[in-house]
Amino acid sequence: MAPTLCELCKTTRALIVRPKNHQKLCKSCFISIFETEIHNTITSNSLFFPGERVAIGASGGKDSTVLASVLKTLNERHHYGLNLILLSIDEGIKGYRDDSLKTVKRNAKQYDMPLEIVGYDELYGWTMDQVVEQIGKKGNCTYCGVFRRQALDRGAARLDIKHVVTGHNADDTAETVMMNLLRGDLPRLARATSIVTASAASDIKRSKPLKYAYEKEIVYYALHKGLDYFTTECIYSPEAFRGSARTLIKNLEKVRPSAILDVVKSGEDMARLVPDEVSAAGQGGKDVLVVEGEAYRAGGCGSANGRSSGGEMADTERQLLESEKAQGNETEISHLGQKHDRNCKIPNRTLRKLPKQQMGKCVRCGYLSSQDICKACMLLEGLNKNRPKTQIQVSVDEEDNSSRLTRRMESLKIIPAEQM
């Protein structure tokens, strides 16, 4: 039987069935089309400008390693003129992060990129190991996510960098779309699919050049390029859960390979269908909570890119039941299924619950926040309150603890006020 030839070059034997569309390709055509597609994504969205300094959020995992490798390749091939830097977070998780950081350090040499590491301990006075020791494994991802978002921003600020790219792939985006539908989170649905997210909480731009790249193709790419990456999932992230949005996405992909991309397409289209007042409410307002919470979803775990644990379904159900109880059953009916040739803007419950608030600085750490105290400081307050005295060593009360954080924050280069 004659070997199947590559559908693109039609000369070399096909070795890869492309997960995205089942096209049969040879190794070099696969690598080239994978890179070209990311190049297209970058150019059609004008993600970068020449001379820009860009930090790659690097966890040592496959997504960020492939991102670093591809960006290096494209930067040289297409003369983007970028100054690429690896930015890593050290959550302080023994046996997981210290090993993956070794990978990142090797990557820094392999790709000839500077590496900056920001540690939770230096920023917050807590490693994740210590957090878990105190609060247990349940819910620790929330802490990690909130801390992570600020940490990336602070790391970038320390380097005076205004643009951080992350390794979120098409599967992550599709999962987020489905999860936001299940959670009924329209403000987040409105921005989950955008390739660039300017956070209300910082002036640092985030973007996702791998947004249209399938996770499976990222793995193939890493494999065929022989990239050096770290495969262990975070030891504190909960077990994957059957019935989660992630499983749904994987099952859809099996039935129709294009489905992941189709969900992303739907998500982008639906973002335009979210009423302005809802998506706008999500920009300022109470939503720093959401914006910060986003870290919990997007990039919550360094390795897992914030994919859902499934515990989210149970959490959502509980929250919905609580709010139903609070609202009473009868009022609920009034905003279900509105007319759709609706020029009238029907006010609804959620909108009323999103008061416009001014963005200000957290009084403790100076990070942008709509609340007096930012989410990270709130979490820290809880942690510090319960910290066994012996561990604190210096006898400090709560006030001192928070001022200690303030000092830590100040020792970093904080975004100058006029830029906020």
Partner: protein
């Protein structure tokens, strides 16, 4: 389980089931379902007023728990009004669309006879998907669409997902065309909360996110008033309902086929979503309702006057390149997003239907 719990509403009868954390007796549960349906119908403002002519509402029948319950509740309302000598405000026209040429079905004849016997006062019509072209429902540019049989168009499609997607589209278009041809004032779709939630995620997965308001919300769609009176009832509640009426409606219910297909080749996106929501409904019923509430808040996109309509689903086509298509790459798979050279524009979702793999 507390066995002697009394009904939370009437406080007198013994509770027979728990509905959204409330113990209800049989009578109160039947009332609960009917109230939810009628409230929705009222909100649709579709009934003729006191001095107006009777309106005719088309009710597509599938012999599932939801559309059967809908017929039953409305039939009861109409009977009550007649008994009280009151103006009913509307007539029902029941429509069954036969899909036996494309989807294996058990013999439907006996079900139809039963339905006519039980609800004799309503007009009933039986048509087939093969009648699409006689109602002007055409699928320009599809293989076999030139005077061919509907089943030939379907069998020309490459995947089970595409076939199922296309049959759903054709069914809806035929219902709408029938309603217009018979000058109906509105269509009462029998989709339950669970079904609408399934559809929301399923259309999302098929790249039809943009069309979700047109496919799930109450109001004018495809030029006719579409109402979903069952949108506040979960499938499991309706399954309970059909067993509790006197006599039960169970003999009218065609077993649904959400069971896992024997081969993965036969698995469809729609089927997967049914399975997914079966477990979501069992474990997290509030999430099901929440999905429907959420999709209900999406605002249908404004359509440019000169927008082309998709030659398959009939929805407007939004032209414009999309980053995910990677169109500047020469690829045998590149999607023909406007497809004008092969007979009519195609929306993103329908372009997927015609892909050869």
């Amino acid at each position: 389980m507390s066995q002697q719990a009394s009904c939370a509403r009437c406080q007198s009868s013994e509770a027979e089931l728990v509905v959204r954390a409330e113990h209800l007796c049989r009578e109160c549960f039947l009332k609960y379902v009917a109230t939810k349906v009628l409230k929705r119908l009222e909100m649709g403002k579709i009934r003729g007023g006191f001095k107006e002519l009777q309106k005719t509402l088309l009710l597509p029948v599938s012999f599932g728990v939801s559309s059967t319950t809908l017929i039953h509740v409305l039939d009861q309302q109409l009977r009550n009004r007649v008994q009280q000598g009151r103006h009913a405000g509307y007539n029902l026209h029941l429509l069954f669309i036969d899909q036996s040429t494309v989807i294996a079905h058990m013999d439907i004849g006996s079900y139809i006879d039963l339905l006519k016997q039980r609800y004799p006062s309503h007009c009933f019509t039986f048509i087939s998907l093969e009648d699409c072209s006689s109602y002007g429902v055409e699928f320009k540019g599809l293989l076999g669409s030139n005077g061919g049989r509907f089943q030939d168009i379907v069998s020309g499609m490459a995947s089970a997902t595409s076939r199922a997607d296309f049959v759903e589209i054709a069914r809806r278009r035929l219902v709408v065309a029938f309603a217009k041809k018979h000058a109906c004032d509105g269509i009462l779709f029998g989709d339950s909360t669970t079904r609408l939630a399934e559809r929301t995620l399923s259309e999302t997965a098929k790249g039809r996110g943009i069309a979700i308001p047109w496919l799930t919300a109450d109001g004018s769609s495809d030029g006719i008033n579409c109402i979903y009176p069952m949108r506040d009832l979960l499938r499991k509640e309706l399954t309970a309902y059909v067993g509790m009426t006197t006599p039960p409606l169970t003999s009218l219910i065609l077993e649904s086929s959400t069971r896992t297909p024997s081969s993965s080749k036969d698995t469809t996106v729609d089927g997967l979503m049914s399975q997914f929501f079966e477990s979501v409904e069992a474990n997290y019923p509030s999430i099901v309702a929440n999905v429907v509430r959420t999709s209900g808040r999406l605002v249908a996109p404004s359509v440019p006057e000169d927008a082309q309509l998709c030659s398959i689903c009939g929805q407007p086509v939004f032209i414009g390149s999309w980053g995910g298509d990677q169109q500047s790459v020469t690829s045998s798979q590149s999607i023909d997003s406007n497809g004008s050279q092969i007979g009519g524009a195609r929306c993103y979702g329908c372009a997927r239907i015609v892909l050869k793999r």
